[in-house]
């Protein structure tokens, strides 16, 4: 009984919804990135690694310049650069995209951990360096319930939602979007009509790099104000599940990300609930849940949603 009570009391608490948005935000960025890349036919499972680079680089540049927005800019640049490696290997050299992406995840992990001591003096995590201040919306703050959610929220959340809307228009209402999707379905057909398949795919992968990196930057410079080794903690893969669940559609990915965000928010609230107690030993079992959910989603929804037909297949002119 107390569990049902606990869950109910969490659901009526505006904090739950705020946490849901905050948990979903990095997933929205990264899954949106996945949509860009895979829509043009290049799989990019390196989101986890790109997010990590974004998280690290944004803190480094916040430390150097004292301005967290410069950190965000740095994250955009590293996102471009790091994803360019994957794009180059996959598009120019027809590499095995899964292995190439795995390599990038490992490299990201290696570089960020490696540079901790030389740059920050010690391993593990940095001190509090700085963060992007939350956005206060005065008139919203006064509204009950809604105000508690949106009154004081990181600008990253709004950026993420705006990007979803922009991306949706781009993909379904502009010529570029039509071409992107054609390239992901039947690159040969697009090629015979004079569309540059390679350029389109570079665009898709580089966009995924920018977006994933922003997602990582949110975790460090947007929320925590510091960098912790391996802080992405599997979210890059959960974002992939959100992309699949969302049927490779920007809006769908957003809803799926919100769903995962809700699960995480519920997890966090339950662990700090005053109604039911969760001992420290059981905590790992709770933390396991997002991964179990992802596993079920990936296992249950593949085949029910439809990946771009040429996804993961390198395009080579005869």
């Amino acid at each position: 009984m107390s569990w049902i009570e606990a869950i109910f009391s969490i659901l009526v608490n505006p904090l739950f919804y705020k946490l849901m948005l905050l948990s979903a935000t990095p997933l929205i960025f990264a899954s949106l990135g996945g949509v860009y890349s895979e829509s043009t036919g290049v799989t990019n499972i390196a989101l986890e690694g790109i997010m990590l680079m974004g998280a690290f680089v944004s803190i480094v540049f916040t430390q150097i310049t004292g301005n967290p927005w410069i950190g965000v800019l740095a994250a955009v640049i590293i996102g471009l650069g790091f994803s360019w490696l994957h794009a180059w290997a996959s598009i120019r050299w027809s590499a095995n995209q899964i292995v190439s992406a795995t390599a990038l995840i490992i490299i990201a992990q290696g570089i960020t951990s490696f540079l901790m001591k030389p740059f920050f003096g010690h391993e593990g995590q940095t001190d509090f360096i700085g963060k992007v201040s939350d956005l206060h919306i005065p008139f919203l703050e006064k509204i009950p319930f809604v105000g508690d959610i949106f009154g004081e929220l990181s600008p990253f959340v709004y950026i993420a939602l705006a990007l979803v809307a922009v991306s949706w228009f781009l993909m379904y209402k502009t010529p570029l979007g039509l071409r992107m999707r054609a390239v992901g379905e039947n690159p040969e057909a697009a090629d015979t009509l004079g569309i540059n398949v390679y350029k389109t795919r570079y665009f898709g992968v580089l966009m995924s790099g920018v977006l994933a990196s922003l997602g990582g930057a949110f975790l460090s410079v947007g929320e925590l104000g510091r960098f912790v080794e391996n802080m992405i903690h599997g979210r890059g893969f959960i974002a992939l599940a959100a992309m699949i669940l969302g049927n490779w559609n920007p809006a769908g990915a957003m809803w799926a990300a919100l769903l995962f965000g809700a699960a995480e928010a519920m997890n966090l609230q339950l662990q700090s609930s005053s109604i039911v107690s969760v001992s420290a030993t059981i905590k790992p079992l709770f933390n396991m849940l997002p991964f179990v959910v992802t596993l079920i989603v990936v296992g249950g929804f593949i085949g029910k949603t439809r990946a771009p037909a040429a996804d993961g297949v390198p395009y080579e002119k005869e």
């Binding site: 499972i45 490696l85 290997a89 996959s90 050299w93 027809s94 590499a95 095995n96 899964i98 292995v99 190439s100 795995t102 390599a103 990038l104 995840i105 490992i106 490299i107 990201a108 992990q109 290696g110 570089i111 951990s113 490696f114 540079l115 901790m116 001591k117 030389p118 391993e123 599997g234 893969f237 992939l240 599940a241 420290a280 030993t281 059981i282 790992p284 079992l285 933390n287 396991m288 991964f291 179990v292 992802t294 596993l295 990936v298 296992g299 249950g300 593949i302 085949g303």
Partner: protein, 350 residues
């Protein structure tokens, strides 16, 4: 020209060299001397009898995780979940091994090893079933299983299995479950684990090249449509491949506990060695013999980088960076292939 003979050996070799070169650039960036760094590394891996013994001890589980990933690749499956399978195999195996006190070694050792293999096999089969029946990509599902395994291990070792204080750890396994020692080099004990690993490598080679099972699994990896036409069950093959791969990873985990002190299950047991298996499989070109050499190389890098960290203050994460670059270059092997071709051409013209 004998390009086809040399090429398979050349690509991984050149990839490793390029990776080491890039790593030296990074070492320079943090203000250290790469030449002294690599000298320290080589001495740390091979410099003396104890160092060599250490490297071989480290090599043992790496041969097995390399075989695990490599076997998967041969059959068309990317088992990135060796990490989690290793943990589960070690966990289940040690739970049995802890309680085998009264039973003689001759029974305990095989039983515990088989238990470890079963643990890994079952864990991997979850991803295998999902791939076979729903088409779920094994990379995402095995990575999720890695995280789940890590959490499970953490729970077990702070809860039901916990003993003592300090780092969470399980009780020590029974004496009869410990692997016999071949030789003792100063402070390092070398168990028969390495011999077991090499024998397993040879067995895997035989399976792949001489049995109908090997024929079928490789066939499914190359062309599932033709395999189906040839009467091979795709679903069974996928699950079997994952199970065997997981069994090898599970064996890596349990042998590590049985052969190396402190002979206990600890939370951070796997330490990235499942991921090392990917590099090893790729460098060794999924060939059991190649994998043995690749495992030696990575083990050397690990022992050596420990020394680098202590004497030269270079964080041992450099090894991870090196591995990542090698994997990247092998994935995009045409990059390396064309570098080799171009250099050869220049040699011919000049």
């Amino acid at each position: 020209m004998n390009r086809s003979k040399i090429y398979p050996l050349l690509v991984p070799t050149v990839s490793v060299l390029i990776a080491l070169a890039v790593a030296s650039v990074i070492i320079v960036i943090i203000g250290k001397n790469p030449i002294t760094a690599y000298a320290v590394m080589i001495r740390g891996a091979f410099g003396g009898a104890e160092q060599l013994a250490n490297t071989i001890v480290k090599m043992t589980p790496l041969v097995l995780t390399g075989l695990a990933v490599g076997f998967g690749f041969r059959a068309g499956v990317f088992n990135i979940g060796a990490e989690g399978q290793m943990a589960i195999g070690a966990l289940i195996g040690s739970m049995v091994a802890i309680n085998m006190g009264a039973v003689p070694s001759i029974i305990t050792i095989p039983v515990v090893i088989v238990t470890g293999m079963l643990g890994g096999a079952i864990w991997a089969s979850i991803a295998g079933f999902l791939k076979a029946f729903t088409g779920a990509h094994e990379v995402i599902s095995t990575i999720m299983l890695n995280w789940i395994a890590a959490n499970l291990a953490s729970f077990m070792v702070t809860g039901p299995l916990a003993v003592g204080s300090g780092t969470p750890k399980s009780p020590e396994i029974a004496e009869s479950a410990k692997l016999p020692i071949i030789m003792k080099v100063q402070a390092t004990e070398l168990s028969i684990g390495i011999i077991i690993a090499v024998i397993v490598a040879i067995i895997m080679q035989i399976i792949l090249e001489r049995t109908t099972m090997g024929y079928e699994l490789k066939g499914v990896g190359f062309n599932p449509y033709a395999a189906e036409y040839g009467g091979i069950s795709i679903k069974k093959s996928i699950i079997l491949t994952m199970a065997i791969s997981g069994a090898l990873a599970g064996m890596a985990g349990i042998i590590d506990i049985m052969g190396v002190p402190p002979h206990r299950f600890v939370g951070e047991l796997t330490g990235g060695r499942g991921f090392d298996g990917i590099t090893i499989a790729l460098i060794g070109r999924n060939n059991p013999i190649g994998i043995i050499f690749a495992a030696l190389l990575i083990a050397a890098l690990r022992t050596g980088s420990n020394a680098m960290q202590i004497s030269a203050q270079i964080p041992d994460d450099i090894v991870i960076i090196i591995q990542g670059i090698v994997i990247f270059l092998v994935a995009a092997e045409r990059i390396v292939a064309s570098i080799i071709y171009w250099k050869r051409k220049r040699g011919e013209l000049a």
